[in-house]
Symmetry: C2
Subunit: 253 residues, 2 copies
């Protein structure tokens, strides 16, 4: 069994604990949480450490805390010459403390505390300083997911920026659609099938091939009529710049 | 049987012909296409008219042509005192010619010629000048879809603007994510589960509840690092205004 210590008790840490519990090759020997109650429904109370100095021996230490605490936590660890990884999309591997070999174990997904997650299909992006450690991470990752990728820190940063566009910003566009519907007494459920189809379409077409709409057709009459309809300044600006970007993209082809 | 004439041979017209063919209460008595070959694989050749003056008697005439041709086609129709509807999200009902009772039969979906469509789950938005005509449209719509809504022209305009945000603009954000991945040799498939999860999440949470990311947390360090990473001017502007809009929205709550 590969002995793993999980440091942290947030969404990602909790989902990892659940996924590892199902793996036949991983033993979670300990989890760290300043507040024991965060983890008591997931792991035996005797395995929860509330003091970073009390961590026991393991093959792999996974730091899954907020981005701005990762470097500090890696510095505070008393273990040495053990593989230490973080789970963040936006922190460089080299930001981890030098006393331990470093790596990254980044599951690319949006985790909510209560929503169930099927880890099989969640891509896990791995990075390590040396090949032995990479192989260990790969074994661990493949025991919970079918989609494991070797992604260096530069690529991970690009991936994180992309994820902001296709997740955070997309969700905000859903919110704007929802707001416009509300103001006009239209049930938002009318838009749900379109939203699902938009996401499904790009599994068989490239986003470029899938593009439709007034901006793609450079239909200035419809575009102007929509801009007149919008009264919220942010909505207007978002409409303008996305329309410009779609039109500019058409010119490049 | 309700006798229907379809005028047009584009994506929406073709998908309607296929859906109506499966309905037990609708008979497509004729379809109009300037170019007969557009429809010969969907409907018996003898039922295809290539001359607008040759349309036969029916209960319902559905004009499914490009937005800027709808008014002109309704004007050219020789039939009188027959229910004539269009299928557009952005054209007012009153733009149809006055010699016939008017209505709208708007299936809210993004149609691609080759992608198969399950009409059962596509919302159909209906409008009519009088209640008798509305009931006819409702009967026709319910024979092909489980989701039928009464939506007036003002609401349909709001819906169309919303659809631009949640479909056209969302797809363009997918494209930007794809472009950033390509430039950094990252397979776009890594982002697919995140894209699907983002769309699925709002079937159980409101978009407002589902929002995550650096803008939602007002994490200026990550935001600035992402803006430094981006080199394309349009991408930078899109990042800035969407971030501003998410932050402003947080202040309102």
């Amino acid at each position: 069994m590969i002995r793993v210590v999980i440091i942290g008790s947030g969404n990602v840490a909790q989902h990892l604990i659940k996924a590892f519990a199902k793996s036949s090759i991983i033993e979670i020997v300990q989890a760290f949480s300043r507040n024991k109650e965060n983890l008591t429904n997931l792991i035996d109370s005797s395995k929860i450490a509330t003091d970073l100095n009390a961590l026991i021996d393991a093959d792999l230490y996974i730091i899954s805390v907020s981005d701005n605490a990762i470097a500090e936590v890696s510095h505070q660890l008393k273990v040495e010459n053990k593989l230490v990884v973080h789970t963040s999309g936006s922190i460089d591997m080299i930001d981890l403390d030098n006393k331990n070999p470093k790596g990254v174990f980044y599951p690319l997904q949006t985790f909510s505390k209560n929503a169930a997650v099927n880890f099989d299909v969640i891509p896990i992006c791995l990075e390590a300083e040396n090949i032995e450690d990479y192989k260990l991470l790969e074994t661990v990752a493949k025991s919970i997911s079918d989609k494991v990728f070797n992604i260096n820190s530069n690529q991970r940063k690009a991936l994180h920026v992309s994820a902001v566009f296709v997740n955070n910003f997309v969700n905000h566009l859903y919110k704007i659609g929802n707001d416009i519907c509300k103001e006009n007494n239209i049930p938002f459920e009318i838009l749900q099938p379109l939203i699902q189809e938009t996401a499904n379409k790009i599994t068989s077409l490239s986003p470029n091939e899938a593009q439709t709409g007034p901006a793609k057709r450079n239909d200035s009459q419809t575009i102007n009529s929509h801009l007149q309809f919008l009264t919220d300044e942010n909505q207007k600006e978002i409409y303008k710049i996305l329309t410009k970007s779609i039109i500019d993209n058409g010119k490049k082809l």
